[in-house]
């Protein structure tokens, strides 16, 4: 079994299968995606939005990490905004965009999108699926087996969703019949090549090693490849923000950013820089500690054991080193390591964050590379902020967010409009 492709039950597949190639699955999806193509864009958005409302009401799904955020993200207004940002038009108004007086362009699906989904964020696959579906693509998601228990119940729920618009009834099946969940050993070159060659578009999430290896696989000449590689995120607070009345609520937001996904996301902050202010760094760390303590118990998911060991060892280093300072919970809920070395610390993950004081936030800028994804900015002065954002962006930062909003799955992401990359633009001459 291990040397076969595992096609899970769910989506377009009734019963799980173990197969040697993707040929048959691709044929099924190719047939099914026609219905999705014919479905109005606005209906797809309605179905997702309705589904978003339903999942939060269903207590049987409450165990899924990140469910409430998914529900929020699937709001109709948000999906409209994503659609507009990616395709340059509002859904349902008209299909084409005027290029000049003679021609226009319309977007069409690329076909079958093959997603390599990393296992660190349980619902990552679903977000990726929605972006592909907005472009009316069929999707095969190669998942880590551990996330099937999250994704399949959601697909089942989506399948059950029905809406009625203008007395016409639509079912979520129009989406789920164009989706399949699979897994196979990534080290199996034959299966990996087959999967890659099956794609009209490849979407790759993962570590450096993973994205390098997958990117090098042979692929169709027409296929685009979208890479969401490894990224680092951090936070910066200037003096004015630290001394502002909003500081404690900013820290509470940041504590949430640290706790969500156990710091395993590319948008998770690992280092926080505070510009020198009236407050001592230790006192700021104490405030961050209080922020952690106000978070509800349900936000703290068990740590991967290997990560737990890393946290334990990091804690010990800071406890034993008399030149360093640390605040920590009795359990492994949160760890605040304090030092003044101006650097981006190696991520430990597991809700272990490094806080540092800088005399000027500009000292942080030389640390920024293209590997930095999100910077949470705590700044009050808008002029200073604009200048700082520009400088961060020039040096490679992809997203500048407010503390507490680092994980918002915005478009663009990693410098790209993901859904927009998953469509082809067709030129049509009017006359």
């Amino acid at each position: 079994m291990e040397d076969n492709i595992h096609i899970y039950a769910g989506g377009c597949v009734d019963k799980e299968r173990y197969v040697e190639s993707f040929t048959e699955l691709i044929q099924e999806l190719e047939e099914n995606r026609r219905a999705l193509f014919e479905c109005p864009d606005e209906i797809i958005i309605h179905l997702f939005a309705h589904f978003g409302k339903e999942i939060i009401k269903d207590s049987s799904l409450a165990y899924i990490p990140g469910l409430s955020y998914l529900s929020l993200w699937l709001r109709k207004e948000n999906l409209h905004a994503i659609y507009l940002a990616n395709f340059g038009i509002k859904p349902g108004i008209r299909d084409s965009i005027q290029v000049d007086s003679r021609s226009e362009m319309i977007h069409v699906p690329r076909g079958v999108v093959c997603h390599w989904i990393a296992g660190n964020i349980p619902l990552l696959g679903f977000f990726s699926l929605v972006l592909a579906t907005l472009g009316k693509n069929a999707s095969i998601l190669k998942i880590h087996p551990s996330v099937y228990k999250y994704l399949n119940p959601l697909l089942q729920k989506l399948e059950e969703v029905t809406i009625e618009i203008d007395r016409v009834s639509y079912s979520g099946k129009v989406i789920t019949l164009s989706v399949s969940l699979v897994s196979f050993p990534g080290k199996n070159e034959i299966m990996s090549r087959d999967f890659s060659l099956s794609a009209d578009c490849r979407v790759i999430y993962g570590s450096h090693e993973a994205v390098q290896a997958i990117s090098c696989l042979p692929h169709q000449v027409h296929a685009d490849t979208i890479v969401y590689g490894p990224k680092y995120s951090f936070a910066v607070f200037d003096k004015e923000a630290v001394e502002s009345p909003e500081f404690s609520s900013m820290l509470k937001g940041l504590a949430q950013d640290i706790v969500l996904y156990n710091q395993a996301a590319c948008s998770s902050p690992h280092t926080i820089f505070f510009e020198k202010s009236k407050m001592l760094l230790h006192d700021i760390a104490e405030q961050l500690k209080s922020a952690f303590q106000t978070l509800p118990e349900r936000m703290f998911y068990p740590l991967d054991e290997g990560i737990a060991i890393s946290v334990i060892n990091t804690r010990a280093r800071y406890l034993l080193d008399s030149s360093k300072d640390i605040l920590l919970s009795d359990d492994l809920k949160w760890t605040v390591c304090i030092n003044d070395t101006i650097s981006l610390e190696e991520p430990v993950q597991g809700r272990c964050v490094f806080v540092k004081e800088v005399s000027d936030i500009d000292q942080v800028l030389p640390l920024v590379t293209r590997k930095v994804q999100t910077v949470a900015l705590g700044m009050v002065d808008q002029v200073r902020k604009e200048r700082y954002v520009r400088e961060l962006a020039y040096r490679g930062v992809d997203r500048v967010m407010a503390p507490g909003a680092m994980h918002e799955f915005t478009q663009p992401w990693d410098g790209m409009l993901g859904a927009g990359r998953m469509v082809r633009w067709i030129a049509v001459v009017k006359k």
Binding site: N120, S146, Y261, E305, Y318, K371
Partner: protein
């Protein structure tokens, strides 16, 4: 040499049988000793820093479970000596089995004496009062002081305390280990049923010895032998070889009765304490030590049957902070008393070593050189 003020306290422990303490007795006997040892350990700036940061005063420790523990890997990064440098007579350097950095464990005379005494008592419990012939299922260089000290070295050195004579069954041929025919012949010449004890790493026994014995159809008759084997089961588990199958092969090829094939657990950082299987396959804790299994998420002591990280506490080290060491191995407590073998106190089993996180994904950044 500095007079160690808690030396007399430690000596009290030798009055007790190795496995005679219940957990309540253990708590009552070890706690004052460990508290005194911690007072002395605060001479070390790292330990002092630790205690200050967790706001822990040795006087306030009311239970062994409250003693601040240090992860064993910290011996690779910090000098955890708790006696003046002049008192250190030896630094144990251990490469371990997985790490690249070397652990440095500073030993004074008292610690070495304590460790030797403890090991002798544990071995005597399993082997009887007389010194025996010791068969090492490894090559002689493993015990060469010029070579790096490894977990295998620690095992050989520790167990050789009880040896009347040592025979190394293996030899090195280039980078490979193989059976030394001369040593094998010497073992064959031993009287049938003569009491001997053997030590080797489980994987080496399985991958070097057993195939050689099979190929050459060798069957020893060590019916009076006791095999201590350690180093974990991961490699064997990967090829679906379990404890029972391993033991059966030892019985068939070495002639050692199954109940004297003893898997044991130990570490260089807690030399002097080993945890061999009892006749019932459980591991017991000697009087000078305590085992706490800690929940990996809460770090609180686990209940019976709950898997967690193994913490080994010991009163043997006076020259370094070995009073409470947290390992990266997991285990579970099987019972608090009442193992059918008759040994008292907690009995437990080793499960596995915690592995590096498997799923890293898009958050798996960095390594300091992070490019452009």
């Amino acid at each position: 040499m500095t007079v160690n003020p808690n030396d007399h306290l430690i000596s009290l422990i030798w009055k007790y049988g190795v496995y005679d303490l219940t957990e309540i007795e253990r708590e009552n006997i070890l706690l004052p000793i460990i508290k005194e040892q911690i007072r002395n350990a605060l001479i070390n700036p790292h330990i002092r820093s630790y205690y200050e940061k967790v706001s822990m005063n040795p006087e306030d420790i009311s239970s062994l479970a409250d003693v601040p523990w240090v992860p064993v890997t910290m011996f690779k990064e910090f000098d955890l000596a708790t006696v003046p440098a002049d008192d250190i007579v030896k630094i144990l350097r251990s490469s371990g089995t997985t790490g690249q950095q070397t652990s440095k464990i500073p030993l004074d005379k008292i610690t070495i004496q304590n460790q030797n005494r403890s090991l002798s008592k544990i071995l005597a419990h399993y082997l009887g009062p007389k010194r025996l012939i010791f068969i090492v299922i490894d090559h002689p260089e493993i015990n060469d002081p010029a070579h790096e000290f490894s977990a295998r070295t620690a095992g050989v050195r520790g167990l050789s305390l009880y040896a009347r004579k040592t025979i190394y069954l293996l030899k090195k041929e280039g980078d490979y280990l193989t059976v030394n025919p001369e040593a094998l012949e010497e073992i064959r010449q031993l009287d049938r049923g003569i009491p001997v004890y053997l030590f080797g790493f489980t994987w080496i026994i399985w991958s070097v010895c057993i195939p050689y014995f099979k190929k050459h159809d060798i069957h020893l008759h060590l019916s009076g032998g006791t095999l201590f084997h350690g180093g974990g089961w991961k490699n064997l588990q990967n090829i679906a070889v379990g404890k029972d199958f391993f033991t059966m092969n030892i019985r068939d090829f070495f002639g050692i009765p199954s109940y004297r094939v003893l898997d044991f657990y130990g570490m260089a950082e807690q030399t002097g304490i080993i945890f061999p299987d009892c006749e019932c396959g459980n591991k017991h804790v000697p009087a000078c030590a305590k085992i706490i299994i800690r929940n990996i998420q809460t770090l609180k002591p686990c209940g019976e049957g709950e898997r967690g990280l193994i913490e080994v506490m010991s009163i043997l080290p006076t020259s370094y902070y070995g009073q409470a060491l947290l390992t990266e191995d997991t285990g579970r407590i099987i019972g608090w008393d009442g193992c059918p073998c008759g040994r008292r106190g907690v009995f437990f089993e080793i499960l596995n070593r915690v592995e590096r996180a498997e799923i890293r994904g898009c958050g798996d950044t960095f390594r300091v050189d992070h490019g452009r």
